[in-house]
């Protein structure tokens, strides 16, 4: 997996949480989310995620990526809060965009280098690492030696060195990660220390190293986006921590017996067959408001009570049927991509518009950052039926009356 793919696998988490609230969320979950403080609009996050992943590929420069994101923001009709223009709270500002782009890319790269370094062969040859400056800045922070000592790190001839699996790395990081970056915008990173030096410094014995390497052979690092679970003492759904987690991650997590389970990118997991079906939650009050006056009251009541599941078989059958039977619509349809599937829960929870459909149906529509439209067809009785991406909104589609899923 590349850094770019790692970023594209992150779940889009639109939320009003600020940075201090995000800091309360366990690092493992935070790392799996693509978020930005106080950005609730997932279509904006989807655009940013795509651009950031492009930058991670190393094919274009930061300036161009910032300009592309600003174009996306304009298309999504984003405007900063009054009085916040050109501050860190303004998504157009260079400072905010650099934080979003550089932090996400640095974390993906930090994780990649860490994971590669923890492979049995690499770890056996280079079991330790030195905390040092990788990127030189105009005004480097001067307090790193103090922070290193406070985290429990030791120095050897003035160098800050520890084994790769030493807990000092997680304690050093404001993100709680054992890999760089260790702070916002920091140019500090790690350089490997070889086996001979690590043994000479007394960090590990040859025998201990063999044991650690054998353990890595038996139990390699888990896939970044799989099998994540965290045990949180006294965690309840209605506790502050539980509420923050559910508010931020929604259906991406499940809380059972004080254990938080990461459920990954629900829709993509269903389509890949790794889980059978996913529930996207009840119809939201926002969606119910948008149905008012457009749908029969009996259907609105049915929507209010429903908690539909998304099922691969049903979805594919419906998609195939409608793609095959409606040539006029097909011309304006666009193939769905991973980012579009990630947005499906957002279309369900917070559509821009809802149109009535035939036979107790409704079309939930949301504009994407690239100026296209995602349309989720839901039946008040049967649940989710189809999902499309089109070039024109349903309200403006020629002959749209014939398009009733």
């Amino acid at each position: 997996m590349t850094e770019s793919e790692l970023i594209l696998q992150k779940a889009l988490v639109g939320s009003g949480l600020d940075s201090s609230q995000w800091n309360q969320i366990q690092a493992g979950f935070r790392n799996r989310a693509f978020f930005s403080s106080r950005v609730a609009e997932v279509n904006i996050l989807a655009a940013m995620r795509e651009r950031v992943a492009k930058y991670a590929e190393g094919e274009t420069d930061l300036s161009k990526i910032r300009m592309m994101i600003r174009d996306d923001l304009r298309r999504a009709n984003y405007t900063p809060e009054p009085g916040q223009e050109n501050t860190i709270h303004d998504l157009f500002s260079q400072a905010r965009l650099d934080v979003i782009i550089k932090t996400n890319v640095a974390q993906a790269r930090g994780y990649m280098q860490f994971a590669e370094g923890m492979s049995p062969g690499a770890f056996a040859a280079f079991p330790a690492q030195e905390f040092t400056r990788i990127r030189h800045s105009r005004k480097p922070r001067q307090d790193w030696p103090q922070r290193w000592a406070k985290a429990g790190g030791k120095t050897y001839g003035g160098k800050m060195i520890a084994l790769k699996d030493d807990p000092v790395w997680e304690r050093l990081s404001v993100f709680g990660n054992p890999f760089p970056p260790f702070d916002w915008g920091s140019g500090m990173g790690v350089l490997d220390v070889d086996r001979k030096t690590a043994i000479q410094l007394g960090l590990v014995s040859d025998e201990e190293l063999r044991g650690k390497t054998a353990a890595l052979r038996e139990k390699p690092l888990p896939d970044f986006n799989r099998d994540m679970q965290a045990s949180v003492p006294n965690l309840r759904h209605d506790s502050l921590c539980g509420k923050i987690l559910k508010q931020a991650f929604g259906d991406q997590i499940a809380i059972e017996n004080n254990v938080v389970h990461w459920q990954g990118n629900l829709i993509r997991d269903v389509l890949a067959g790794s889980i059978n079906k996913a529930r996207l939650g009840m119809t939201t009050p926002e969606a119910l408001k948008k149905m008012a006056g457009k749908l029969p009251q009996a259907d609105i009541d049915a929507f209010k009570a429903m908690n539909p599941s998304f099922n691969k078989t049903t979805f594919q059958q419906h998609a195939a049927k409608h793609y095959g039977s409606n040539e006029k619509r097909l011309k304006t349809n666009i193939p769905l991509e991973d980012a579009d599937y990630d947005l499906m829960p957002a279309v369900w929870h917070n559509p821009d518009t809802i149109y009535p459909g035939d036979d107790h149906g409704a079309i939930f529509e949301m504009q994407t950052f690239d100026g296209n439209y995602l349309q989720l067809a839901v039946n008040a009785i049967k649940g989710f039926s189809s999902y499309y991406k089109t070039k024109i909104p349903l309200g403006a589609a020629p002959g749209n009356s014939s398009f009733i899923p």
């Binding site: 300036s63 790269r109 280098q113 062969g121 040859a125 280079f126 990788i134 800045s137 990173g189 070889d194």
Partner: protein, 175 residues
């Protein structure tokens, strides 16, 4: 850019080919990373503020190991161009813009002056180069050229011998 390593291991060695490739790949990757970090520490010769270009490149060094093969990649735009050299032509503008002041450092002209109100274009007829100047101060913010020739610079990366030595040392460490 990619460095492709193929590891051939003598038959009497106990460590698996795969783990040796992991070690060798990491050794080469470390050598590249250290080299780029050292370059980053030098600063810029044109007097403009540091951009951390080579530090970013060092952070973008990854190793992909498959069987007994390791591929080390540097995920950073322009590294291969500097290493191999070449001619750069504008693709989405009429000219290449080379920053000459802090106003333009790390930014394309379209980002530094999105409304086209701050800079004045000065390109005398028949001249090979032009400039974008600050309208208020007349400071040259960008030098404009129709193409730029980048000289081959093999010092961007460690030498082949250094890379080979790094890979070999890493393998020897786990034998």
């Amino acid at each position: 850019m990619h460095l492709d390593l193929k590891i051939t291991v003598p038959a009497d060695i106990l460590a698996s080919d795969h783990e040796l490739a992991q070690a060798a790949g990491r050794g080469v990757s470390n050598a590249v990373k250290r080299h780029l970090v050292e370059r980053d520490s030098r600063g810029r010769s044109d007097g403009l503020p540091r951009t951390g270009y080579y530090g970013d490149a060092a952070s973008g060094v990854t190793t992909e190991v498959s069987g007994s093969r390791a591929v080390v990649t540097i995920h950073k735009e322009g590294v291969a161009l500097h290493y191999y050299g070449g001619v750069v032509y504008p693709t989405d503008a009429k000219a290449l813009a080379i920053p000459k002041s802090i106003q333009g450092a790390g930014k394309r002209p379209a980002e530094a002056d999105p409304d086209h109100t701050k800079f004045a274009l000065v390109w005398p007829k028949g001249e090979k180069t032009g400039t974008l100047r600050d309208k208020e101060t007349d400071e040259v913010v960008y030098l404009l050229v129709s193409k730029a020739k980048i000289k081959e610079d093999k010092t961007v990366l460690p030498t082949d011998a250094e890379l080979e030595s790094a890979g070999m040392s890493a393998m020897e460490a786990i034998l």
